[in-house]
Amino acid sequence: MSGTVLLNTALGAQEAVGGFDPFLPGLILLLPLLGFAINGALALKAGTRGAAAVRAGSPEPDTTGGDRPATHTLPTWIGPGVMLGAFLLTLVNFVGMFGVELTEPVIRSYWTWMATGALTVEAAIQLDQLSLIMMMVITGVGFLIHVFSVGYMKEDPGYPRYFAYLNLFVFFMLTLVMGANFPMMFVGWEGVGLCSYLLIGFWFQDREKADAGKKAFIVNRVGDFGLLMAMFILFAIFGTLDYQAIFSAAPDALVYGGGAATAIALFLLLGAVGKSAQVPLYVWLPDAMAGPTPVSALIHAATMVTAGVYLVARASVLFALAPVGAAAVATIGAITALFAATIALKQYDIKKVLAYSTVSQLGFMFMGVGVGAYAAGVFHLMTHAFFKALLFLGAGAVIHSMHHALHSTHKEWDAQDMRNMGGLKRFMPVTWITMWVATLAIAGIWPFAGFFSKDEIIWYVGTSAPASVLYTILWGMAIATALLTAFYMTRMMVMTFHGPNRTGQAEAVHLHESPLTMTVPLGILAVLSVFGGWVNVPGSVRESFFGGFGLLPMSDWLDRWLEPVTASADAVRLEQLGAYASTAPVGGGHVMWGAIATGLALAVVLIGARLVSGREIRPAHESEPDTGFGKVLHDKWYVDEFYDRFIVQPILGLSRACWRWIDQVLIDGTVNAVGSVSRGVGWFGSLFQTGQIGTYAFILTLGALVVLGVLIL
């Protein structure tokens, strides 16, 4: 028996289903876990050595110089290596699924995880079109970000720990999208939350960063409550938590628009809102920028935060059966998109701009899956992963360079504040060009990836059935958001890369382009940001100018690819709501809107560039603070303050009351009272113990007489 066959058997490979035979699906999961184990062991070893050195009185061993210890060189190969392996395996499976009519997911069950009463949960993974798309994004973009991290984190003493966490994150993220039932998905869901917490607080010596990690974790607990509730209701109704069993039984078991379906959808939505940073639980994501920048790219832009979108797409039939729930998804998405975009207008921290931009784009995805355009939501998820990862990595390169420049002269400036940058295109041409590509993509300008995905969502929101006032309003909000997006991204680019340099004469000479490990991933992501959108060009658009009059290779590929996953949801929607309209509320058909949207976005980019370069920008410490409405936007609409005032402080007050009154007065009081009474009784009893032999003899006699009396009587 060859090694491959042996491994295949060990990993529980079974007969092929529907002509598709998954190739080592378990290994895709195991590779990142293996990377975590090895890197984790190296991190422990490095930590022990560092601690020993500190105890011995010498400074921590230098891990940045020419002869770095093995604990700091091995992760360079293991971290990205396991990711490359996982990506190649995913690619093999992805290609293997081409041309196969697969209407049911292929499920691999390894062992029975729990069997308690009516509930049986298998440790099972499933491969279908949706999970494979997600896996491609996770392992592909994940691999590029791992490579980028090699350059970015090289000088950090926690280098092996960093890769251990990153590998562990990928393992959990893959578990999330590959799980074949809700509990498996929940394991991944919580696991990525844990890794997010660990990586946000990666530099935990900094109190603020450790607090940001805690904030992310605690805010996510609110959402997890919703997910758990949804699972309880699902189990109560269906008696199982397997995806296949639930989704195939749902159209018959649940009444359309009924209480149960609505409750399930709303609780699932609460879970998705927490993980995907939507209003009102989005507040953790901007703070999560405290983590290393590649982490922001991988976890807080490309993969983890899209888990909510994945959840809605995965449970699409449940949302289709609950029109109120689906409308709530779309409404929350629209509010989030517009709200976050306004905040991004006035941020000066380059990562904060991108963070609010991410929140806003996630809102777009929610709008898409909320109006039933599940493929469009997943499409935007994918293109967003490309260009937002690119933007974050580019920002990382900028911060890296700025940090070096400021560090070289020990200047105490903020390396992330765009007011301290300016004119960086001369020093970092590759970063500059690739980031412009991503900016044009996110702004929705043809032919970049974001144009196709974002316009598809806007289109479906506008034409959604029922064509009610609500959807027309959401459609208007989506267009407004798209224009704001084009503006704040242009502002960010101009402030960072154009105009005169504001870093300082002595510092500017130290600004430099990043090493190859960082620029190559940027380049690859830039290519994907250009062409990534071409996989799902709608047929009518493909025939027009925007599709090169039919030159673009594929039309509606992703829609058709995901068709088996969303089929039952589409059927429910079609039966209950009818088809989508063929024209938008204003402005005509699909092609016409493509022209309007890209024209508007291009105009905003050009005008925005002129406006921002026309304004005089001073370094952060010389700048006047914003006033008026600008200050409200800069201070993020005071949402954090609002939460602090009306949620955090009341809870703290309640806790304090519980402590002062219930614990200290009531409980401690009761305990102390029992003690005091015992002491009092003891004191009273001790009065009889005079030490006088006469008293004792008297009491003894008395007692004997009483006993005697009782016996006689």
Binding site: S686, Q689, T690, G691, Q692, I693, G694, A697, F698, T701
Partner: protein
């Protein structure tokens, strides 16, 4: 015959009890305890005539224990007297709490 013996035993026991309760001289109290013991001994002996030999055997045990008790008790009283120069039990009140 038995009745008289038991009445005498009771009288001796009550005298002993009151002696222990009323008197304050340790040695007198001690003697009174002995009086109680011997009152019980008397009732044992009296009753053994009717109920069997065990009562008499028990008397021997009581006398043995009483002898041992007298030895220990007198030793304690002597050491207390050496300390306080008195055998009045009102002075001894440390035997508490």
């Amino acid at each position: 015959m038995l009745a008289e013996a038991l009445v005498l035993s009771a009288i001796l026991f009550v005298i002993g009890t009151f002696g222990v309760l009323i008197r304050r001289n340790a040695i007198i109290m001690f003697l009174c305890v002995e009086l109680q013991l011997n009152a019980v001994n008397l009732s044992f002996v009296a009753l053994s005539r009717y109920l069997g030999i065990e009562g008499q055997i028990f008397v021997f045990f009581v006398m043995t224990v009483a002898a041992a008790e007298a030895a220990v008790g007198l030793a304690i009283i002597i050491s207390i007297f050496r300390h306080y120069e008195t055998v009045n039990v009102d002075n001894f009140n440390l035997l508490k709490w």
